[in-house]
């Protein structure tokens, strides 16, 4: 049974991605008690699945290492993984939160030694790699996963595999009888940081993501480029494993579009520019865009990529994709800078899919102001609940961390009022 010691001077942070982690750590390092609830079996969220950050092209795992060390060493911080907040009652300074915790079937004894993973046979699509590649039925979601504990896929519970995992474990960390549990605890303020999800590319019908193997999404491309990804960092075509010599990026795939996401997702332009630096320089790259939204110093990076001889920018929203020779996608459209019609064949097409806020208007646990794009508004009506990061707007990592730090303060203000420390 999970024990959570929390009072109305505790800050509840929902979501353990870069924003949630930042908010939680900043508050905890200011001496506040924090409970962090994360849906995945590990903290870090989507940035753990990115290969590099723009514009520095540094590795997200570097910052993750520091944040995880901060988290491990901080006594003020309690992390609950595989859990979702299902209900929040009360008002600023006095909330009662309900969280549902899914069974991990592995307890804290786990040393991350990996014996159970070796013992289990069943394999599943690896969600960490967006379904490209497989993982075992007992698995460590990724090498940097924190907590460094394995997970047993519910699908093998009741099978011999589950028993194999149990038998293989020398520290009896495997608990096949683990049940879903529901816990309730107090909090004075809530930071909502459930982040975003890639827009469902199947809905962008003209691009045939559901019909053409060699049309993939930008998040999948990150995994392809990552040396620890399914292709060992080689950029290969899904259809035939051939090395990609000619890749196209389609911007605003789902963004700035009343048929999909109304808003501009802000990050996609920079993400694609970044991804232009992944392939070798003998790979031809075409970027199909409406406006390149390189803000601030990102302009430097835009200019740098523009200067690459192998990159070509086309001001055009691609109209449609059809299948060409040996499954190569052919892009149809018009370059609007002087009306040039094209039908360009590429080895691989990357859809720069938009950011859809992971804020479910329908099932949101408490009454809160959510705008038509699905982001949480900075409204006083929200009481002691503060959005952080991509729950509030489409933000890049840097802006998300910045926003989360501010959100942490707003939560601290509530806590301090409760504690009566002001004045």
């Amino acid at each position: 049974m999970t024990e959570v010691i929390a009072t109305n001077e505790t800050i509840l942070v929902v979501g353990g991605g870069i924003s949630g982690m930042t908010a939680a750590l900043e508050a905890a390092e200011t001496g506040k008690k924090v409970v962090l609830v994360e849906k995945r079996p590990y903290i870090g969220g989507r940035v753990t699945q990115l290969y590099k950050y723009f514009p520095k092209l540094c590795h997200p795992t570097c910052g993750l290492e520091i944040n995880q060390r901060r988290a491990k060493m901080n006594p003020n911080l309690t992390i609950i993984t595989m859990a979702e907040v299902t209900d929040i009652k009360g008002e600023a300074g006095n909330y009662t939160a309900t969280a549902k915790i899914a069974p991990r079937y592995i307890n804290d004894n786990c040393t991350g030694c990996g014996d159970c993973g070796k013992a289990v046979e069943a394999e599943f699509d690896d969600e960490y790699n967006y379904g490209m590649g497989k993982r075992k039925g007992a698995y460590l979601p990724h090498r940097m996963a924190m907590p460094q504990q394995y997970v047993i896929d519910p699908a093998i519970i009741g099978t011999d595999d589950a028993q194999k995992a149990k038998d293989a474990c020398k520290v009896n960390a495997v608990d096949l009888d683990m049940q879903e549990e529901t816990i309730e605890f107090n909090a004075g303020a809530v930071v909502w940081a459930t982040g975003w999800q890639p827009y469902d590319a199947n809905k962008i019908q003209p691009y045939g993501y559901d019909r053409f193997e060699n049309v993939i999404t930008s998040v999948e491309f990150e995994r392809l480029a990552d040396p620890t990804g399914p292709t060992g960092g080689k950029i290969l075509r899904p259809s035939d494993g051939k090395e990609v010599k000619n890749v196209a990026f389609i911007q605003c795939a789902g963004s700035r579009d009343k048929n999909h996401l109304l808003h501009c997702s802000r990050i996609c332009c920079m993400a694609s520019l970044k991804q232009c630096t992944y392939p070798a320089d003998d790979v031809d790259i075409s970027v199909y865009y409406i406006d390149i939204r390189a803000i601030d110093r990102f302009e430097d990076f835009y200019q740098k990529v523009k200067a690459q001889d192998n990159v070509n920018f086309i001001k055009s929203k691609v109209a449609s994709i059809v299948k060409g020779d040996d499954d190569s996608p052919v892009l149809h459209g018009v370059d609007t800078e002087g009306y040039n019609r094209y039908a360009n064949q590429h080895d691989l097409v990357v859809l720069a899919v938009g950011m859809e806020p992971s804020v479910d208007k329908e099932s949101f646990p408490v009454d809160i102001v959510i705008n038509e794009e699905g982001f949480i508004e900075p409204a006083s009506e929200n009481g002691g609940i503060f959005a952080a990061g991509c729950s509030s707007d489409a933000l890049d990592v840097n802006r998300a961390a910045q926003h989360a730090t501010g959100a942490a303060l707003r939560a601290v203000q509530v806590i301090n009022r409760v504690a009566g420390t002001e004045g």
Partner: protein, 756 residues
């Protein structure tokens, strides 16, 4: 140290350690060689029972030093958490059994590896003491906010709302800054459709009414001395009077200055009064107070306006701005709406290249502008021809032709330039940095810095710091963090920039940024009071001290500290400021006479590890390779390699270091003298996009090691024996390979003759 040491060792036999290694022998090694008073085995040390065993030894047997031989220091951190003792860990799992094949012929070397790691951990423990708060400063909750614009005002209010007293410094005679001059501002709530009144007046009133906030108008900072938790600030007013207060931390929100449009002759700014900047337009709109906006030249009601986007921005030309000032497209849409509101049937045309209106608010507002019949054209403006009616010449990118249009008024969307002080590193990292091959002495560097400060702007903070008066700059004068994950990772602990001085931004962002910076300032004040380090070694209580009698006043430490933490007294002895220090150890690495040390990280804690590795006789054909790995990237990379079962040769002995900048040359020379056959240093990426969270640690290590050549010469050893590598945390295959490469090198060039 008064209390006598009681050393307790613990060997875990879980996770296969017991199967792969002779635990009995490890225990003996710990007690016999490692001089542990006690040493016990446990089959699962991280379990509740195991942890209890350690706890009892501390509580009941009064152990003061604890050596845990188990998994990597990165694993089971929560379990092995005993702040009340000096603790070290021997990495037998990731460091030994996971990187060595489980075969009989490897058994011996694997055991030797493990025994060495035990000896090293014991030595490290022996020479460590438990870090504890220095008491150098107490908690000072006051936050100083510099700048009384929207960012500073927000920061002040946010801090006060959290219960912290505020000293708010404003150069001018009133609060409000630029926003006070604006007619309207961008909408901050959905639907993002119409410009709204700014809340600046209400905010000013609220600050007036808040007894937690003290406002200093017409004031500047004469001097800021001290450190987080004990800053002492002299405030000078225009009238010449000065006052002093102390504060715990600082938020700098000094805003921006609009780009000088006189640098844009092609747009006729200097020739026609009817060519104005976006900032001047705000004044025009305000002056119209509710009526139609009139032309500056002849007061005629304006019926047509052209907005020239990116005027002097996104340019590679000399004395124009290379970057894009975040909001200028949104601002032009907003201002075009002014005309729709005030001038009835007025045509407004926005000539842009890439229209940059990001996010939900941005795209909504773009559509709102189109709804309001603001006309958008992808056009690049080449010239504005003055005249009774101005003619704008541009290339229409869509119709792909040269075009021109006439209008009554032209608005230049110019960018923002940060109001930052002189860059302390102008001469070392900034524009004044030595060019390729240019060698500068410290004196020359200082001269350049001084010269730079002469020509450049006045100081804002007037910090009494050895390394300059103001916040370091990232690029284009912005006081931004270099790190994507950590927007507030400042290089001046306890001082945080917010708003357009950090990055070009709009009001909403600036207000969020103010909250963020205030949060960090509050945190810095609180932690200074606790004697705890700030990010990235957050919570670290260890701090540097030095043996004055040994110091030669060479100033290496004061010059090279990346955080300006060390001042100099009149005798040029270093003055450490604990609360400014980030515990990287760069000073330790810099010190040629080895007088600087931390309680649990010193010349000895590492040096003794090096010494306690058993060096086999030359003819044993068992080389020893010392690996000094940055704890942030290289060491985790090696851990992950171990998880993947990547092999590392059995000669390597890896020691994690806080930063390559903390590596003392003495460690290198000692290990060479002790018969190590090769040395591999692994630090972070250096250069413009450096990854080192201690800024130049990796770079400085490289520079220092370049001088090892002489040492090698005198010992007539081959230069290949010492290598420095940049290693990223993702180099899971590469990091082990670099170590194995060294083994091959030694194969080639032979063993070191210095084995005694």
């Amino acid at each position: 140290m008064a209390e006598e040491k009681k050393m307790a060792g613990f060997v875990c036999t879980g996770c296969g350690i017991g199967e792969r290694l002779d635990a009995g022998q490890l225990e003996t090694t710990a007690t016999r060689d490692g001089k542990m008073n006690t040493c016990v085995q446990h089959d699962m040390l991280c379990s509740k029972e195991g942890v209890q065993v350690i706890r009892d030894t501390i509580d009941n047997d009064g152990a003061t030093h604890v050596m845990i031989a188990a998994c990597s220091r990165r694993a089971k951190v929560e379990a092995f958490n005993f702040p009340e003792v000096a603790m070290t860990r021997a990495n037998l799992r990731e460091g030994v059994i996971w990187v060595r094949p489980d075969t009989d012929e490897n058994k011996e070397t694997t055991q030797e590896m493990a025994d060495d790691y035990i000896r090293m951990a014991c030595a490290e423990a022996k020479f460590s003491t438990k870090p504890s708060k220095s008491g150098e400063q107490e908690l000072n909750k006051t936050i100083m906010v510099v700048g009384g614009g929207i960012t500073g005002m927000t920061a002040a209010m946010e801090a006060a709302a959290a219960g912290y007293p505020v000293q708010l410094i404003e150069k001018s005679g009133a609060l409000g800054g630029r926003i006070a001059e604006y007619y309207k501002v961008l909408p901050t709530r959905s639907p993002y459709a119409t410009p709204q009144e700014s809340s600046i007046a209400e905010m000013a009133a609220a600050i007036e009414a808040d007894d937690k906030i003290t406002v200093h108008l017409n004031s500047t900072l004469a001097q800021t001395s001290g450190a987080p938790g004990r800053f002492s600030v002299d405030v000078a007013t225009e009238s010449g009077s000065t006052s002093n207060f102390t504060c715990g931390a600082i938020a700098q929100a000094t805003g921006f200055t609009p780009f000088d449009a006189n640098k844009l002759p092609e747009f006729g700014y200097d020739k026609s009064a009817d060519v104005v900047t976006n900032h001047e337009l705000e004044a025009l709109a305000k002056a119209a107070n509710g009526g139609p906006i009139k032309r500056p030249s002849d007061g005629k009601e304006i019926t047509s306006v052209a907005f020239v986007q990116n005027a002097g921005q996104c340019s590679d030309e000399e004395n124009k701005l290379a970057y894009f000032s975040g909001v200028t497209d949104l601002v032009s849409i907003k201002q075009a709406m002014y005309f729709k509101e005030l001038n009835g049937d007025c045509d407004t045309t926005i000539l842009f290249n890439n229209l940059r209106t990001p996010g939900a608010a941005g795209e909504d507002f773009y559509r709102a502008g189109q709804e309001a019949m603001v006309l958008f054209s992808k056009g690049i403006v080449s010239e504005v021809v003055p005249g009774d009616s101005l003619t704008v010449k541009f290339k229409d990118m869509i119709l792909n032709e040269d075009a021109e249009m006439d209008c009554d008024l032209v608005v230049l969307a110019v960018g923002m330039e940060p109001n930052s002080g002189p860059d302390p590193y102008y001469a070392t990292e900034g524009a004044g940095a030595p060019q390729e091959g240019e060698e500068l002495t410290d004196e020359e560097k200082e001269e350049r810095a001084a010269a730079a400060n002469e020509v450049s702007v006045d100081s804002i903070l007037n910090l009494d710091y050895r390394q300059g008066t103001d916040l370091p700059q990232l690029k284009y004068g912005f006081n931004d963090s270099h790190f994507i994950c950590f927007p507030y990772e400042t290089r001046r602990t306890g001082i945080y920039a917010a708003g357009p001085v950090r990055r070009p931004m709009d009001i909403q962002q600036a207000r969020d940024d103010a909250a963020g910076a205030t949060m960090k300032a509050i945190q810095a004040a609180e932690n200074a009071g606790k004697g705890m380090a700030a990010h990235p070694r957050a919570g670290d209580l260890s701090y540097p001290s030095f043996r004055k009698e040994g110091c030669t006043q060479c100033k290496r430490c004061t010059v090279e500290c990346p955080f300006g933490a060390i001042n100099e007294d009149e005798k040029r002895y270093p003055l450490f400021n604990e609360a400014r220090c980030r515990r990287c150890g760069t000073c330790m690495g810099a010190c040629p006479v080895r007088v600087i040390s931390f309680e649990n990280y010193s010349i000895d804690t590492v040096g003794q590890q090096i010494k306690n590795v058993e060096i086999p006789e030359e003819w044993d054909e068992k080389p020893r390779i010392l690996v000094l790995a940055c704890e942030n990237d290289a060491y985790p990379a090696l851990d992950q390699a171990a998880m993947n079962g990547v092999e590392i040769n059995p000669w390597a002995r890896v020691i994690p270091v806080r930063c390559l900048g903390s590596v003392s040359l003495s460690w290198i020379t000692d290990s060479l003298n002790n018969g190590y056959d090769g040395i591999v240093l692994m630090g972070c990426q250096r250069g413009e996009d450096y990854q080192c969270h201690f800024v130049r640690g990796s770079a400085m290590a490289a520079e220092r090691m370049s001088k090892v050549g002489d040492t090698l010469q005198t010992l007539n050893l081959e230069p290949e024996r010492v290598v420095v590598h940049e290693v990223a945390i993702t180099d899971i295959e590469r990091a082990p390979k670099l170590i194995n490469d060294m083994a091959e090198t030694i194969e080639k060039i032979g063993m070191s003759p210095f084995k005694f």
